[in-house]
Symmetry: C2
Subunit: 415 residues, 2 copies
Amino acid sequence: MTSSSSHDRLLDRLGEVAVRIGLNIAPGQQLLITAPLDAVPLVRRITEHAYRARASLVTPFFSDDEMTLARFHHAPDAAFDVAAGWLQGGMANAYRDGAARMAITGGNPVLLSNEDPDRVARANKASSLAGRPAMELITNFAINWNIVACATPAWAAQVFPDDAPDVALARLWDAIFLASRVTVDDPVAAWTEHNTTLHRRADWLNERRFAALHFTGPGTDLTVGLADGHAWAGGSEPARNGIVCNPNIPTEEVFTTPHALRVEGHVRATKPLFHQGTLIDGIEVRFEGGRIVETHATRGLPVLERILATDEGASRLGEVALVPHSSPISRSGILFRNTLFDENASSHIALGQAYTKCMLDTDGQTPEQIVARGANSSFIHIDWMIGSAEINVDAITQDGGREPLMRHGEWANPV
Amino acid sequence: MTSSSSHDRLLDRLGEVAVRIGLNIAPGQQLLITAPLDAVPLVRRITEHAYRARASLVTPFFSDDEMTLARFHHAPDAAFDVAAGWLQGGMANAYRDGAARMAITGGNPVLLSNEDPDRVARANKASSLAGRPAMELITNFAINWNIVACATPAWAAQVFPDDAPDVALARLWDAIFLASRVTVDDPVAAWTEHNTTLHRRADWLNERRFAALHFTGPGTDLTVGLADGHAWAGGSEPARNGIVCNPNIPTEEVFTTPHALRVEGHVRATKPLFHQGTLIDGIEVRFEGGRIVETHATRGLPVLERILATDEGASRLGEVALVPHSSPISRSGILFRNTLFDENASSHIALGQAYTKCMLDTDGQTPEQIVARGANSSFIHIDWMIGSAEINVDAITQDGGREPLMRHGEWANPV
Ligand SMILES: [Zn+2]
Ligand SMILES: [Zn+2]
Ligand SMILES: [Zn+2]
Ligand SMILES: [Zn+2]
């Protein structure tokens, strides 16, 4: 629990870190913020810091869980194939004209768990389709962008179900402030140091140029081939508009592009996946030639199957990421039920679209050439967690050799 | 004062009237809602009623007074020439694709009164310019649209400054519910009857085809020539998409298009004007050849002068409207400090853009041809009040005759 004035100070710091470290917003930039209604106080702090950093115009888009549910409860069936293409198109235009993007996460992780999975899937697909032009500018890293979290009562109730609402909310805020490194005396210095650590690990992996990663553990024996000319990334990085930003706050991962055709074996998820308001638990899948050919889940299987059917790339991998099991988020022992946190507590893989920035020498290459090197293409990008203290990772070298990369969830060698 | 459950019932009715009478939303239509953050409960009622009426997708845009002020207090000076053209363009695309529009009014009427008038004017101009394509679809009545009001603490404090905040808010809600005709047993029937009354008055005026209106009273001796082939409108009307809607809730006016070149004489405003967060009081202007050639105001003169300088059409009239002084809003005796209410308590004129629907036989005519008939063109449309119990209006007939139209603010002849 934090006192009210201490909460206000930490909220202001989170806003400052999101603007200065997360976005590193440039003078004259416009800023688009998407946020749940409960995030109004954080959005106000972010807005003030953005204007102090000489942003020209901050435009917030607040979403409301009640309005989302009203659609599922009262709208006609045909509505679920409709999306706000005009708004997604407008946002894509904003990014092309130089705007930065901030997404505030914190909605109810199971908002749609009791809704018809078919309608949920259709609504998600319509919205992914409409959002593709904007999403491409994000996955191509054309602009500086950032995701940061806001505790909300509905999210806190899911994370700390045994606590009173105000206690749960305060505990979730404490966890967010800690993971976002704003509880230290000088958050900006802490982030600079943290970025250096992540850069060192990514640089070391880039020097080694491994051919594949082999994950083993309970229920898992998975070989993830890496794309030709893959690049490891982690921490702060320059977007294509030249601005060095930290797309995720918090972030603990180093990550790269798997080869879409070279993933073999089976893998068991180590945490449930909360995707667009639905819960998918007990995931086990088997890959052949890069493609998922067998799918199990103890909960939410219909939703998972619909996700995999989105398009050709939805059943192949677009990202593989390594996170030591001793990361601060993991050590907190909290299952956040939110990808931004859970993926930074655990090594993970992502179904769907690859990040162009995780491929070397793409300048001048066509999208087809980049795909031919193994980078997956899809409307979706969904991370799910496969790391734990029981997982070992071996690196396979280009000449077929093998060396330990992680043991019991920890890096086998320091950098 | 209303009890909490009675408030909830009236709020729900206001949402229903806004959707069914205001928009008359069609199955499959998308709906865009702009609203202050304090309007969340009303937006939720509107959203549910829209989905029940088979809307496909409701997208809310919430604005926040604190974020608006943060820009004036912290953003760099160049920011005030920037607007969200990408968003206005996206909204225009939504309207072209058939979406309906709901605007919820209720912000602080004097939010920007202490800010630099030059910056306020520049920000308004940038936003009017960016919003022109969307605004044209509204003024052309291409789509069904509606403005409805939500009481907010900041607005209530301006209307009832001597009351405690909760009393002021409850009194403002009571006034809104009453003026919006949702306190009767059957609001839909009440609106049908009210629309019939307004249609009868507009039909009578259209049959008479007067050449001009002559307003006289304290400080006022103004002749407003009417455009060639002007049409009087009032109450519900079909938009060009075929949907019969009530653009304003409440509405008490019948209104038409003045001739942009044929306004002569001087006029004194009978109420202060609250425009985009600034107050302009004690307005007196003189027209020659349709154009304002002399401008006085006891408060906010710099803002008024900047408004008139927006473009050529900003100092000419685009609307003249007649409202009997005995209208329910006027009888309430409340100065609402909000145009939607104050213009429906008083005869008024509007600077700037004319409504195409207030011109006969425009199908197949170019914008230039419509302008040649006297319909004014401008980025702005700003209503201000010139009616009171002390104002008489004579109608000038096409052959130069004169007959009494309003005496002491009331219609001289029943219809
Ligand atoms: Zn990742
Ligand atoms: Zn990812
Ligand atoms: Zn009017
Ligand atoms: Zn008007």
